[in-house]
Symmetry: D2
């Protein structure tokens, strides 16, 4: 059910979004130190029996660095595209500008169990600490999953954290992505990254998304109106949510990260999503380039700080990485049959390729990328 | 340990804060339909053994009305005085302008357990609903309580909801207030209310606070600098948090409630609190006068809506009720011995009375309250 | 210089953005009562002499209804995509949720003169009023215009207000749009509208934009990457700003208008814009369906209010109308030579048509619009 | 009319607010480099003839440092207590976290003229700059002044800037304060400062206020309910506005300054003000300790940055300095007769002293200030 290797990422089928180059993994793990781990829970089939199953859910851990996140917090910000959601811990991030635990993603009704387990995990590393702010994002997988059963348990959280690896981010039906829906196709986890122009410093920016949003006819891939020609046989106008995690190695301030986070919404918009009323569309952005001690001392030196004028490049990187991560999350997600036999089809790769070809989508003008910059090409 | 009747409320010792008259109970339950329930957990003594005790904590339920809160949501807003806190569910309130569950208060590290239990409670009443936004506020009672033990359990949440009553709000060391500290005295739960001038409609506004904040020398009661003359024998400059719940029967819009919530901070400021860096000071305001259906239809008629120009009276009511609720929370809280023998003394009533007398605090100019208005007295 | 009739709007060359139908004028003036007026200032040529010219600027008035806007204010909200800008009066809109003057657009350094003149205009209609909140938005036309000269004067403001008409919105190089730049082509004023599905009520939503933003290679028209193939001969990576005015006849609350305003950013994103650091990208949204008296009484009845669940349609309308208004602003703007001979070329219509054809852009799937709804087509 | 020396400041009559020590001038000019200048306009008397007078208004300049503010911007933040106001330029401050011009204060309807003049002033210093964000705050002096006459002219703005001096801040009926009302007494300009504990660095924080708010019976001076016993013979329940400028020499970030600015509201609350609906109560905070170049480079070194944990001291300093500045603004303002013979009485000093004595207000516990700290006294 998870033989994902047969489904390509966007670039593998010639879809090259934007003008900035991706990092070597084209993943949020291109940011040195970041680790991602998943636990996928897929059990049972047939009729929904709340509390029993079928289970189509999971949990994903994004670990900002290899140290103790509580004693070396990462500078962070939040942007609320649409705050119809249950995410945990974001208010403190908005006040203090930092994150002090890994970021977990899961289903809507499991956020509190996951938060509680994450506190256990951090608490063991930090004896004597009585205040910890766990960060948990969510989308609602009740279309496929017995969400009231709250099948994500403490041990799954700890396992996702243990599973976390720097090298490879599984995409599609993994972790929190198992039961999600994207543009009424199968959705899930996706990631992408961008390298900043070299004269800004040796910086990368990555996005990881949990896609559970979008109306089928709206889907655009790199602008091409896929949804005009290709929709699932049956679909409804139920739009969901998306969690977007943005990470960068550049030492941006919390205020600057807030500006970057806001641009992730532009990447979302380019896929055709509308952030409908009933969505919970939230962006969390953090920097590994400026660690913050519990007393609030920052590790970055002032020469390292990114002058405001250069933020436009980070904005662009956030837009491109978000757009590509969403497309990757669709391409990589296989068909999944969920509760009550409800099925989300993996978007048909060959048809996507054909429609892209029909629209004669060319590789983007290469001159723009000369010398790893895009000033006045 | 809870023979609270022997400790007076502010008005019982001649402290009459502000110019607007209180409701008959001088409590948040003066708003018709609102119920408050507590479960107090007090077990063990002596040395802290994380996970074992001693236990000095609890949970408090504020139930907005007697119906199904999910199908008849209350219009609501949030104001963040200082968002260094773990409260659950507030982002959705800020987006949608409503609350769809009772509001629970508890200790910092129990918010997720309580949220989870509250979802169970609402879920039973609303089968087929897969998205519920539980509201849980918190302060940190780790000074007295084994907070890592997370002793508040599902059954306590359900019991607090069952205990909820319209008639009588216990104050002091009850519910979430059991282990709290206020101006380095024993803190806890307090409440107060105000009647709006009659020509605005037959409206009341109430405040309920969970006091866990304040440096002893800063304490002011109705302006009098109590903290100049009276502090506990030993105290440190550790300041905590406060949760302030504001409720009104008037059909204010979410935007208007946001403006009212902001004024609760003025009531807090008048007690001498400074909302120090490490506090989590949060105001949640709601109206029972305009119920909202799941599709978003409002129950209030336009004639009932409060014209913006009259909001100043609600601002004043929020300031006065908050200030008095905080003072009540201190006066009503008895001495409590917590973990490791750490003790919070109930503020000595006789000394408070003596200092107030020394400063010749007179009853406020009565002419201001003539005819239940305060226009041009 | 303003023989604009020869340049088409998007729909006239087969570019049909989105799924909702436009109003009869496809303009913000499809909202009954709204009037738009321009004064264009085009004088001199050659070298810039600050204070003398050349002058390439103007002022545009958007008048919400035919009455006294101060005594019948319109419910309103603001969304700040990027607040690097000098717009006047927005803070009060954010606090009170209404607008009490016409909305004026002009160049960056003329906003204060225009605000002052607008106060004169309103003051004459409202003797005895000593507090008026003029609303003025801006973009920076210094690329073509002697902006330091502040050539927009009091009389131009009054004339734009007098010029305002319900029937016809001139687009392109008119009013505030005279000196603007869009995706490094000539930019300016554009407008578009959408009808909401009939079962929501007989409502329309319109957008009017002042386009001064965008990097040439980024331009997308209805998804098609025009900027990949077509850029001006010489261009720099200077990105500017955009003002987006959204109006609807539906009686949305200020909170709801805020949510709608946020979606206008999605329309902007779809054109390829990135809201770069140095842009000032601001959305002002208002409703003519709920007028507010100076004391704050609302005119709408509760049955008229739009239930939250239906907001998704307004979101979509805002996205589509904004995207189309921006494209119209480019298509309708003729080549303009400004100060120091700096020239902005009107985007070549024939080449746009050819590129769109090359990408075989088809009219959008018509089944989606059947019965004026887009539920489950 | 301005023989102000006969009226004392708070400390001169034994009113010592708070626990932190004031700077040597007890003024915002205790922050090295800050200069304040006033131009007062007092002409005519008798019946109001709009456009003619009587004139009771002015303009005040707060100059952050002696250099070019545009090329060495000061880090800054804004907090909106109540945004019913016309202040100019604040949105850009909120986005970018800096201020690039002096801050001017004036009457409500002169803000645009003043902004325009301030742009002239900055423009001359910065040729070739076509985007400048002037900062102008306001309160409404129409109770005494012919506000529609907009008597503050370009030359007054330039003169206030030239008048600016580091050494001495005039208080009361000067500059923007000429026509203001405070707690229905004569209001105007006030200032105060606090020194931070020495182990934080050699830092000061100052406040300058323009007081035009408050209902007479609400006035509290250092907690004592002056308004209970002392009100003007005739007063109405018209509440106005306040502008609060906070400055510090410590290199706080914009996010940190935002937190500090929020605490200024606590100082306002302690005076009895309620931030009524129709007030425009706004706080602008800036730091001279971290200058920012046009490209966004910061001057401060990381060792200089204030760790978050120490912000509580800045919060306290902001509360105390704001409270004292407001009291100074009342004490220092002489009786003023304005348009139509409307009179605002300078609060009677002897009666204030007598009431304070009656309440036996003692000097605050001196032990708290030992060693210039207030840790665990």
């Amino acid at each position: 059910m998870t033989s994902q290797n047969i489904r390509p990422r966007a670039r593998e089928i010639g879809i090259n979004i934007g003008v900035l180059p991706p990092g070597s993994l084209n993943s949020i793990t291109d940011i040195p130190g970041i680790k991602v781990g998943h636990v996928s829970l897929i059990e049972g089939e047939g009729k929904l029996v709340p509390g029993k199953g079928p289970i189509r859910t999971g949990v994903t851990a994004i670990v900002p660095h290899g140290g103790n996140i509580f004693t070396e917090k990462v500078c962070a910000a939040v942007y609320l595209i649409n705050a119809f959601g249950k995410s945990v811990g974001l208010l403190q991030v908005m006040e203090l500008g930092n994150i002090e635990t890994p970021i977990m993603l899961t289903n809507t009704l499991s956020v509190w169990t996951v938060a509680d387990a994450l506190v256990d995990y951090m608490s063991e590393q930090n004896p004597g600490v009585y205040s910890i702010n766990p960060i948990v994002g969510e989308c609602n997988d009740s279309a496929l999953n017995d969400i009231l059963g709250r099948h994500v348990k403490r041990e799954h959280v700890l396992q996702a954290l243990r599973n976390a690896s720097e090298t490879n981010v599984e995409e599609g039906n993994v972790g929190a992505g198992v039961g999600m829906t994207g543009f009424e196709w199968k959705g899930g986890i996706g990631t992408a990254s961008r390298l900043l122009p070299g004269d800004l410093g040796d910086f990368a920016l990555g996005a990881l998304v949990l896609t559970n949003t979008g109306w089928a006819p709206d889907l655009r891939i790199d602008g091409i109106p896929i949804g005009n020609e290709l929709t699932p046989d049956s679909y409804s106008h139920t739009e969901g949510s998306i969690m977007i995690i943005i990470a960068t190695s550049a030492p941006l301030s919390a205020r600057q990260l807030g500006r970057v986070a806001k641009r992730a919404a532009f990447g979302l918009a380019r896929t055709g999503a509308t952030a409908s009323h009933d969505s919970g569309d939230i962006v969390i952005a953090f920097s590994t380039g400026n660690l913050i001690s519990p007393s609030g001392k920052q590790s970055a030196s002032p020469d390292e700080f990114v002058p405001e004028l250069q933020l436009s490049f980070f904005f662009r990187a956030a837009i491109e990485a978000t757009e590509e991560a969403i497309i990757n999350s669709l391409l990589r997600s296989e068909t999944m049959v969920g509760r009550d036999g409800i099925t989300r089809i993996g978007i048909p790769i060959e048809l996507v390729i054909a429609i892209m070809a029909k629209y004669r989508r060319n590789p983007r003008n290469q001159q723009l990328k000369k010398n790893n910059t895009f000033e006045k090409p």
